[in-house]
């Protein structure tokens, strides 16, 4: 089992869960593991940094400090003019700015690199999922991945509608999940191979799949909570901020755009339009409530303004109009079927534009905002036109909500270094998919290779053979090669396999053996002298009944030769101990198994249905180590995190068994 590292923000953690459901893995996260507690069902969850011993942390911190000090001394050395010459600020200020938090920032990166290395050594990291491959942690992890050959996937946290400027204009991960085609445009422009991009929607917007249909409920719940009158229009304004990563940024945008909205609302109220304004601030905007209250006061809007920082989706869904400034929330409004107004600013166009004229988003400069809001509230035709246009354009912005996490996880799976994991789907998909012989390596073996270990158990020259689950007929064909006089009847449910077997066996019944009528199929009582059940009984709903029903047709010297998977397998116990019980395409936990057996219960299966077991054999599990010791030894075993006392060699033998081989005779 490999590992995935997730540096994803919590809002995207569903992506990780979806990945784990497909590729059971160990999960490393940054920060507390608590939010991922339930994911332990798929594999261990650990905090990446917990891998670093206190000693290592200290030595890395010292290393970072030494490096930062050396850099600072270089920078202050008389000879250093360097690239700072081009900057307008004086050299001392530049030096101070560069060195101010250098040690801490360097340390963070170095610790992350060391932690990633430890995780990789321990479990082998298959893929790194991250949210921004340009921000310090994401970039470090992506660069680390490049250096170590571990694929990384960045999941956009916005629809990327505008220009990717300065620090955002790079691509460090190997693949990117973008919300829609639009989000891929800047990457394509940068020359990123389209095959590295997937337009999967925003995992954090999956709630919009269902929420719009609950608009009434959401609205009345909010109305009750905030005392919103039935006649009041709900206008939601999402505040903007100045990120200051480009000089094309209005440092005063927060206040100036908020003022524009407050004025528009005030004007509309003065004209008798009852508006309840929700100012939806950024979750990180501490102290925002105070600032907003002050601005409201200055603009003469002392009542009727709700200040909110969370519950964005609910406010959007309940809104009559959503106003914002070059924001993703316009796309959320599209998802919710609510008209969106983009407050036009010159910077918005210089950094974008974010929307074109046919996106179904209304644009209004500050002085026209009141008129635009009034139109979206009062003009039903316009409302209809806007929402219909937006609905048509929505796929450009974000793939349909509801499946974004699953689709993003698919990209992670595809990135997964291990090719075997790539072809793997959900367990339920396996269940519903008929097994194919030709295109599946593993199953080709399953169906097309003779079961020699069963053939070797033959104790007499076979006359009439019944091979239940004969697959492609390989075992019967081999038997007929050695005993040309034997007549082999195969039973096989899979049509494709049966078609193969027809050419090899004397007769193939394409039937479900559980409901098969042996007499009706022409078998005379006491006529069959060999029955094969090669890994078949555990796939049956009622193997007991089958054994009882077939017994009258057996000859007195008949051999029933079966192989049956062992669930008292030590590797499997280890998995179970770790909390794993992962169905797979084939093997001990083949997803189509219905019954599970230990040696004891195999014995009971036969004895209780009228057989005696003449001989036992076994196929061993290469994953479980062998131990050599005297047969009467009692051992203490420590493996897979389990500690066992006084284990007999007989028990160990059973622990090592992957399939029991049984030679049973009618009693």
């Amino acid at each position: 089992m490999g590992a995935i590292v997730s540096l994803l923000w919590l809002k995207n953690r569903e992506v990780v869960r979806q990945y784990l459901a497909r590729v059971p893995s160990m999960l490393y996260v940054i920060g507390p593991t608590e939010p991922y507690r339930q994911y332990a069902a798929f594999g261990r969850v650990e905090s990446l940094h917990a891998l670093l011993s206190p000693q290592l942390q200290t030595s890395i911190a010292e290393d970072a400090a030494a490096r930062a000090a050396a850099v600072a001394s270089d920078l202050s050395a008389a000879g250093w003019t360097g690239a700072a010459a081009d900057l307008r600020s004086d050299r001392a200020t530049v030096t101070r700015t560069v060195t101010a938090r250098l040690e801490e920032r360097l340390r963070e990166s170095m610790l992350l690199i060391a932690a990633l290395d430890s995780a990789h050594e321990r479990d082998g990291i298959d893929v790194v999922a991250l949210n921004e491959d340009v921000m310090p942690a994401g970039k470090t992890a992506a660069l680390w991945g490049r250096a170590r050959g571990v694929p990384s996937v960045t999941i956009s946290h916005s629809a990327i509608l505008g220009r990717l400027y300065t620090v955002h204009r790079e691509f460090n991960a190997d693949r990117a999940v973008v919300f829609g085609r639009r989000g891929g445009l800047p990457y394509a422009e940068m020359g990123v191979d389209p095959a590295c991009l997937a337009a999967s929607g925003n995992p954090a917007w999956d709630a919009y799949a269902a929420l719009p249909s609950q608009r009434g409920t959401v609205r009345s719940e909010l109305a009750a909570r905030y005392g919103i009158g039935a006649n009041e229009f709900l206008v939601v304004f999402a505040t903007t901020w100045s990120a200051r990563f480009t000089a094309f940024c209005d440092a005063d945008a927060y206040a100036s755009t908020l003022r524009a909205v407050l004025r528009a609302v005030r004007d509309l109220r003065a004209r008798g339009v009852p508006i309840r304004l929700v100012v939806k601030d950024r979750p990180t905007e501490d102290g925002g409530a105070v600032v907003v209250a002050a601005l409201c006061k200055e603009e003469g809007l002392e009542t009727g303004v709700i200040y909110a920082r969370g519950e964005t989706e609910r406010f959007v869904v309940a809104a009559d109009t959503v106003v914002s400034v070059d924001s993703n929330i316009s796309v959320e409004a599209m998802l919710a079927g609510v008209p969106a107004i983009n407050l036009w600013t010159p910077m918005g166009w210089l950094n974008g534009p974010f929307f074109d004229a046919e996106d179904g988003v209304l644009e209004a400069a500050p002085e026209k905002l009141a008129a635009a809001i009034a139109m979206t509230l009062g003009d039903a035709n316009l409302r209809g036109l806007l929402t219909a246009t937006a609905a048509r354009r929505l796929p450009e912005f974000a793939a349909a909500p509801g499946t974004a996490a699953v689709r993003a996880a698919e990209l992670l799976v595809r990135s997964h270094a291990n090719a075997a994991a790539q072809s793997r789907g959900y367990v339920w998909e396996e269940l519903s998919r008929p097994r194919r012989i030709v295109d599946k390596g593993a199953q080709a073996t399953y169906f097309l290779n003779p079961r020699n270990e069963l053939l070797q158990m033959l104790a007499h020259e076979p006359r009439v053979v019944l091979d239940v689950g004969c697959g492609g007929g390989a075992t019967g064909a081999e038997l007929k090669r050695v005993y040309p006089k034997a007549v082999v009847h195969g039973v096989e449910l899979s049509g494709e396999a049966a078609a193969y077997a027809v050419a090899r066996l004397d007769r193939v019944l394409q039937e479900n053996v559980e409901t098969m009528d042996f007499a009706g199929a022409g078998f005379a009582p006491g006529s069959i002298d060999v029955v094969f059940f090669p890994d078949v009984l555990e796939h049956l709903y009622d193997p007991w009944n089958l054994l009882r029903r077939v017994k009258p047709f057996l000859a007195p010297d008949a051999q029933v030769l079966a192989s049956i998977p062992n669930v008292r397998n030590l590797w499997l116990l280890g998995e179970l101990f770790k909390g794993r019980w992962d169905y797979v395409e084939e093997g001990l936990l083949d997803v189509t198994h219905i019954r599970f057996f230990t040696r004891k219960s195999v014995e009971e299966l036969f004895v209780q249905t009228g057989y005696r077991i003449a001989r036992w054999g076994a196929n061993y599990d290469p994953r479980v180590p062998t131990v050599t010791a005297p047969t009467d030894a009692l051992l203490n075993v420590e493996i897979y995190g389990l500690t066992m006392k006084d284990v007999s060699m007989r028990d160990l033998e059973e622990f090592r068994t992957i399939q029991f081989l049984v030679d049973a005779a009618p009693a």
Partner: protein
């Protein structure tokens, strides 16, 4: 590289399927996005420059170029190689009388000298054998009649390439250079003049347009500006709904750009007349040259007015009026953010006054701030005595610093605040 035969064959077949017709109609015919401005400019150029009432529209397509003429009483014959296009045009025409004929543009299925004028929009641009095409077109027009059609401007590519110190072909994408489907004929004023002369025609006008049309009508002067590429198209799309923006765009195209040379924009309208008048053709070329010279010397309003004439005197007032609308200002600022527009600053000052010009060029200043800080981030570590102080276990931990440092440095360089607070 595709051969001419490939291209001709491909282009001749390109519009034959009904899906293609439907997609073409929605992209080009309807007044969406910047089509609105394109349709206005092109149709006006046709109307103003055609002579007489019997008109043939070659490659009539959906009827974009001539249905409105037919509606206004012109006697129009449309010719196209694609029956699907003709069917679409017929539907589009409804009650409007128009004759539609199936035929090839190099062998028009009509009598010689049976039309007063020929028009053809967005057709010659696809055909490398354009000289052969023109020969048959000249045949069907009566003496004194006109031929009006658009071409992509090689002069434009050449002028931009010269300014950038590269080859004209370097400006094109790989696809434009190699894919026969993406082939576009690019010719210059001289090529047109020579071909016209050899057919006994004269050049009446060469009218550049498509400075602000976006889409497939690249104005290479705008490369690396904020009006380039898909984001520029997004801004231009608002012309479809913003009347003041549309009227500004029309002003720029029809009053200003139209008076410049074929180096100004990626496309120009050719107006030929069936008249042997080499002096007329030389006059047109001389005007082209004079405009070119005015710009080569760092264009000023005065020098332009000397070539363009009194119309240029109306530019400052009209422009100032248009720039009262904020999106128009921003659009112009986006145009002027092109590195190529830097040397136009004196002209912009002549037109609008120094303060307004400074405001329009503010973006260039901001861009320099970004560039400066970005350049610093790229290089500062290499100037240290040990640049590898940032490499930890083979991973460059220094690159992860860039994000925060960009903001910190912009804070001191531009936002005049304590870094990172």
């Amino acid at each position: 590289m595709a051969t001419d035969e490939n291209v001709i064959e491909f282009k001749t077949g390109a519009w034959k399927s009904s899906e293609m017709v439907a997609s073409y109609a929605s992209r080009m015919h309807e007044n969406r996005g910047t089509n609105r401005l394109k349709n206005r400019v092109e149709l006006a150029l046709c109307r103003d420059n055609l002579r007489g009432t019997r008109i043939v529209d070659v490659g009539v397509g959906t009827g974009r170029g001539s249905l409105s003429l037919a509606r206004d009483g012109f006697e129009v014959t449309g010719i196209d190689i694609s029956q699907a296009m003709l069917d679409h045009c017929r539907r589009e025409a409804g009650e409007i009388p128009i004759e539609l004929l199936l035929g090839d543009l190099t062998a028009l299925p009509v009598e010689s000298e049976s039309f007063d004028s020929l028009l053809s929009l967005n057709v010659v641009v696809h055909f490398p054998n354009w000289r052969e095409v023109l020969r048959d077109w000249a045949r069907v027009v009566r003496p004194g009649g006109r031929l009006v059609f658009d071409v992509h401007s090689f002069d434009h590519l050449a002028a931009v390439a010269r300014a950038r110190g590269c080859e004209p072909a370097d400006l094109l994408t790989q696809e434009q250079r190699e894919d026969p489907g993406a082939y576009m004929l690019r010719i210059g004023a001289r090529d047109v003049a020579e071909a016209a002369e050899s057919l006994g025609l004269c050049v009446r006008k060469l009218v550049p347009y498509a400075a602000v049309l976006g889409g497939g009508n690249a104005n290479y002067w705008l490369q690396d500006s904020r009006l380039w590429g898909y984001l520029g198209d997004r801004a231009l799309s608002w012309m479809a709904v913003d009347e003041q923006l549309f009227s500004f765009g029309s002003f720029v195209e029809e009053q200003m750009i139209a008076r410049l040379s074929t180096g100004a924009t990626g496309r120009f309208m050719v107006v030929l007349e069936k008249l042997n008048d080499p002096a007329q053709t030389r006059g047109v070329l001389a005007y082209q040259k004079a405009i070119g010279a005015a710009f080569a010397g760092g264009a000023r309003l005065e020098s332009l007015r000397a070539v363009v004439g009194p119309e240029a005197a109306a530019w400052p007032g009209a422009l100032t009026g248009h720039l009262g609308h904020a999106p128009n200002r921003t659009l112009l600022a986006m145009m002027l953010s092109s590195p190529a527009a830097l040397h136009l600053r004196p002209l912009v000052e002549d037109l609008l006054g120094a303060p307004a010009a400074a405001e329009l060029y503010e973006g260039n200043r901001l861009q320099r701030v970004d560039d400066r800080v970005a350049a610093f981030l790229q290089t500062w570590r290499t100037t240290l005595s040990h640049p590898d102080r940032f490499t930890f276990r083979g991973v460059d931990a220094g690159r992860a610093l860039e994000y925060d440092l960009m903001r910190d440095l912009l804070d001191i360089e531009h936002f005049k605040r304590e870094p990172g607070v």
